[in-house]
């Protein structure tokens, strides 16, 4: 039996670069930074005073009453899903063949902390009855599933910063395994709050470049000093190829495969040998079963941490061998910051658009390229990719040693 093929037929996003996909993509190609100094009172005395907030506040596009029942991460999921579903043409589908797989790295942490304040200040009776549905990590997926009446299954993989990519991989398998014909998938995160930021800062994971926030996320630069926390999310509509063709859907790209491994090395530090990453790339390429000559682009995880970026680049070079020479590598977190559970999702969207437009987005803020980085990094301006059939990789890694690699390919009909 031939394997069911999966294509992307809808995209939606709300990111630090824009309130939707088109504005985000435009800012990405223009090399704009979404990182800003935080206005919040708590941030003024924090060790890190900046982050990448969404460009468009949910309150600008969502009714007040809906907002108060949804955690900020759930708001992002609803906003991006509505855009993606509309972009897909609001397909008429048997709801028992419709699934949702939306990840979050941390879940409704802002709700949890805000309600803890209510508990301490006013008492247990005043804790909102919406607290649990708002703080549960599956809340974003569940709310989108409810709105779309999805009945094939609603799921939430959790693997820290690899969550969004793992969700997309799960969605791919749901369609391949014939559990669903359409799956709305992606990842969201809303963790710009003093506690998570203090926690990341305490690990020395965050950049402390308080005097120049827009320059702080600088993957592959010699002076990179940590990641910049971002928020928002991305949603993709995955659809079985024949189903998409039958309804005349616009097809952005094909989802070719995934590779999943775990390091078994350390709870937070990347394995310096990067063997888990190398194996994940090889598994993904084997799953995709395409000529390596077609791989012309890679959206790297590259979070701007001293240890991570080089370990990743070396692992990629090791996995691809001489074929790394024709891969244009982009580190888009230089502009969006790091969306944690949303990262793998928005970067999958960037990969899909790179395949669709045959154009790789740039990496900004590299003033002095780290000598240890031997891959071909797309710097400052976008790069045209070859015409014809091309493919790309999106790799994502999470605290805990999770490695996820996805393969997308241009769709040539």
């Amino acid at each position: 039996m031939t394997r069911r093929r999966v294509v992307v037929t809808g995209l939606g996003a709300t990111t630090p670069l824009g309130g939707d996909v088109s504005s985000t993509w435009e800012a990405l190609l223009a090399g704009k930074s979404g990182v800003r100094k935080l206005e919040d009172e708590w941030a003024q005395s924090a060790s890190v005073t900046f982050a990448a907030r969404v460009a468009v506040e949910p309150s600008e596009v969502m009714e007040r009453v809906e907002m108060r029942r949804l955690d900020r991460s759930e708001q992002f999921a609803m906003i991006a899903s509505r855009e993606a579903w509309k972009d897909a043409g609001s397909p008429d589908i048997d709801k028992e063949r419709l699934g949702v797989v939306i990840a979050s790295g941390i879940g409704g942490v802002i709700t949890m902390l805000d309600q803890y304040d209510v508990l301490k200040e006013k008492g247990a009776r005043f804790v909102s009855p919406h607290t649990v549905p708002m703080l549960m990590p599956n809340g974003p997926a569940a709310n989108v599933g409810l709105e779309l009446q999805a009945r094939a299954g609603v799921h939430t993989p959790v693997s820290a910063c690899a969550s969004g990519a793992e969700a997309a991989g799960y969605a791919l398998e749901m369609i391949r395994n014939n559990r669903a014909d359409i799956v709305v998938t992606g990842g969201v995160e809303a963790a710009i709050h003093e506690l998570p930021m203090a926690g990341f800062a305490s690990m020395k994971a965050l950049s402390t470049r308080n005097d120049a926030p827009e320059k702080a996320s600088r993957p592959y630069d010699k002076d990179r000093d940590g990641f910049v926390l971002g928020e928002g999310g991305g949603i993709l509509v995955f659809e079985e190829l024949e189903h998409a063709k039958a309804r005349g859907a616009k097809i952005y790209a094909e989802v070719m495969g995934q590779g999943l491994t775990s390091d078994g090395f350390h709870i937070a530090a990347p394995d310096p040998d990067g063997q888990g990453v190398t194996r994940a790339v090889k598994l993904a390429l084997a799953d995709a079963n395409i000529p390596l000559s077609e791989i012309v682009h890679l959206n790297a995880h590259a979070t701007s941490t001293p240890a991570g970026d080089v370990a990743e680049a070396n692992a990629l070079a090791s996995a691809l061998g001489s074929d790394i020479s024709h891969v244009a590598v982009s580190a888009t977190k230089s502009m969006t910051g790091h969306l944690l559970g949303g990262a793998g999702a928005i970067e999958s969207i960037f990969c899909v658009l790179a395949m669709y437009h045959h154009k790789a987005p740039p990496t900004i803020n590299i003033e002095n390229l780290d000598d240890a980085v031997t891959v071909d990094v797309v710097r400052d301006v976008p790069r045209e990719l070859p015409q014809g059939s091309i493919a790309c990789l999106n790799d994502s890694f999470g605290f805990g040693g999770h490695n996820v690699v996805l393969v997308f390919r241009s769709f040539e009909g």
């Binding site: 009714e63 007040r64 009453v65 809906e66 029942r69 009776r125 005043f126 909102s128 009855p129 919406h130 549905p133």
Partner: protein, 82 residues
Amino acid sequence: MALTVETVLEGIKEIVVEVAGIDAGIIAMDKKFTDDLDVDSLSMVEVVVAAEEKFGVKIPDEEVTKMATVGDAVNFIVANGK
């Protein structure tokens, strides 16, 4: 000052508008919280806590389960308020 049906109804309207985003114009004594006003079981908890605070009255859980309509809530509060 004793609570009147009119003042309590006005108070309940304000709360339901805040919790459920319903147009105040359609809130009346005979309206059902769940069917007419989009106040589900979770939101009903919010309405009750807000009403207790606003009117200084305790509404026991067993009474809440009997409150199908706005009128049921208003009448309970008027009868049991100070």
